[in-house]
């Protein structure tokens, strides 16, 4: 019968086995910069905005921050914010690329 390998070697082997498993790690931008998908860009008009925060409540991707700044790197331009804004303070502008 074969003897057990030393503890260090076994630990190393377990680590290697774990590396072989398909485990994903959480990371920002896991799907790339989804802002490139956009055809229309939401622009907030600070004059009309009453800071109710509904846009950030309804944003499916959570790209509108607490102080109501839109992260254009990741905003997909779905237009939910513009549609739900009670003051109509968000305009959808065509992207120029």
């Amino acid at each position: 019968m074969k003897g057990r390998k030393p503890a260090g070697e076994r630990k190393e082997r377990r680590k290697k086995q774990r590396e072989r498993l398909a485990i994903s790690k959480p990371k920002k931008g896991a799907s790339g910069k989804t802002g490139a998908w956009r055809t229309f860009r939401p622009v907030i008009d600070p004059e009309k905005c009453s800071k109710c925060g509904l846009c950030s409540l309804y944003c499916p991707e959570g790209v509108i921050s607490e102080d109501l700044k839109i992260d254009y790197d990741f905003c997909k331009g779905c237009g939910i914010c513009a549609n739900e804004c009670p003051k109509k303070a968000i305009r959808m502008e065509r992207e120029e690329r």
Partner: protein, 314 residues
């Protein structure tokens, strides 16, 4: 958080003027990192944000094959900042059973949430769900219902409503929607509710409440899908709200054998808006056969009356 005693009035609805107040209850932490690869305007991304905010970091998600197993991002990265176990279609609830047994044995109170699509719940995962409910697994099962197999290109599922066009029912589905809520009800879970992505605060409160119960809880979540239901991306919330206003989707919760209607559905349940307002917004009901339409209307009416009768039962 201690669960409110049953029969207590539910928390106030999301009125626009009150949004600031009610939003303050919601934790600021995001467990969905920017961003998922979901379609623009996806209900699944939106719902997952609030479900995980309600559940907190000590949570494991079990996701069978569905849109949600795809939108997590590309290997070796993921957008979901809690452990996720991706598993085969038929095995989600049974996997969660084993996971809960193991975690409790190790003395851990980690919450296990199954987040399955309608195909993974009403069709393929039904026997596993029934088994887990019967074993009184301590978990939360969320059926994320976009009323078709969205991930593979909108084929009909058992949950597709009567008359809806899908890629496999090009003339409109001729069978009514399977009533999963009644099937689950027959297992007498401690807590059962319906929710919709258009009322994220209601969803948040229901998930929070469901997780306080020992034993299985079930949330049926209607998820308007812009791609599959054929409406513009920006109208996801509007369509969802209209589903509640027309009483095509009624928000309620049931615990200890008593049903209480949630605040956003209280008015519409008694005085619904004409169903056509909801159907007309969606391309999948275009050119609906009048015979199917009247059957659909009748079905929705019967369901509404049944809920009303149960809610008013002393």
């Amino acid at each position: 958080m201690t669960p409110p005693a049953h029969g207590e009035p539910s928390l106030p609805p999301v009125f626009k003027r009150r949004a600031g107040e009610t939003m303050a209850q919601i934790p600021k932490e995001e467990y969905i990192l920017e961003t998922t690869s979901a379609c623009p305007g996806c209900s699944s991304s939106l719902s997952l944000r609030y479900i995980l905010k309600a559940a907190g970091p000590d949570t494991v998600l079990v996701i069978p094959a569905s849109c949600s197993s795809v939108i997590q991002g590309m290997y070796p990265n993921t957008a979901v900042n809690v452990p996720v176990y991706n598993i085969a279609f038929a095995a989600a609830a049974s996997c969660a059973s084993g996971m809960v047994a193991g975690l409790r044995r190790a003395g851990r109170e980690t919450k296990v949430i199954v987040y399955a699509g309608d195909g993974g719940t009403v069709d393929i995962g039904l026997q596993a769900l029934s088994g887990a409910l019967e074993r009184e697994t301590d978990f939360l099962y969320i059926c994320f219902d976009n009323e078709a197999y969205g991930n593979t290109g909108m084929q009909r599922s058992g949950s597709t409503p009567l008359g809806a066009l899908t890629t496999t029912t090009p003339l409109g589905k001729i069978h009514p929607k399977k009533e999963i809520d009644r099937i689950v009800e027959a297992h007498h879970p401690p807590y059962q509710a319906t929710a919709i992505s258009a009322f994220p605060l209601d969803l948040f409160q229901k998930v929070e409440k469901a997780l306080t119960f020992r034993g299985p809880s079930f949330i049926h979540l209607l998820a308007p899908c812009p791609t599959g239901w054929r409406f513009p991306h920006g109208k996801t919330i509007e369509v969802g709200r209209m589903a509640v206003k027309t009483a095509a989707w009624v928000l309620w919760e049931r615990g200890q054998g008593r049903l209480s209607v949630s605040a956003p559905s209280k008015g519409p349940l008694k005085r619904p808006v004409p169903l056509q307002d909801y159907l007309g917004m969606q391309g999948r009901f275009k050119g609906l056969d009048p015979a199917l339409l009247s059957r659909l209307q009748q079905g929705i009416g019967t369901n509404r009356e049944a809920i009303l009768a149960e809610a008013e039962r002393p």
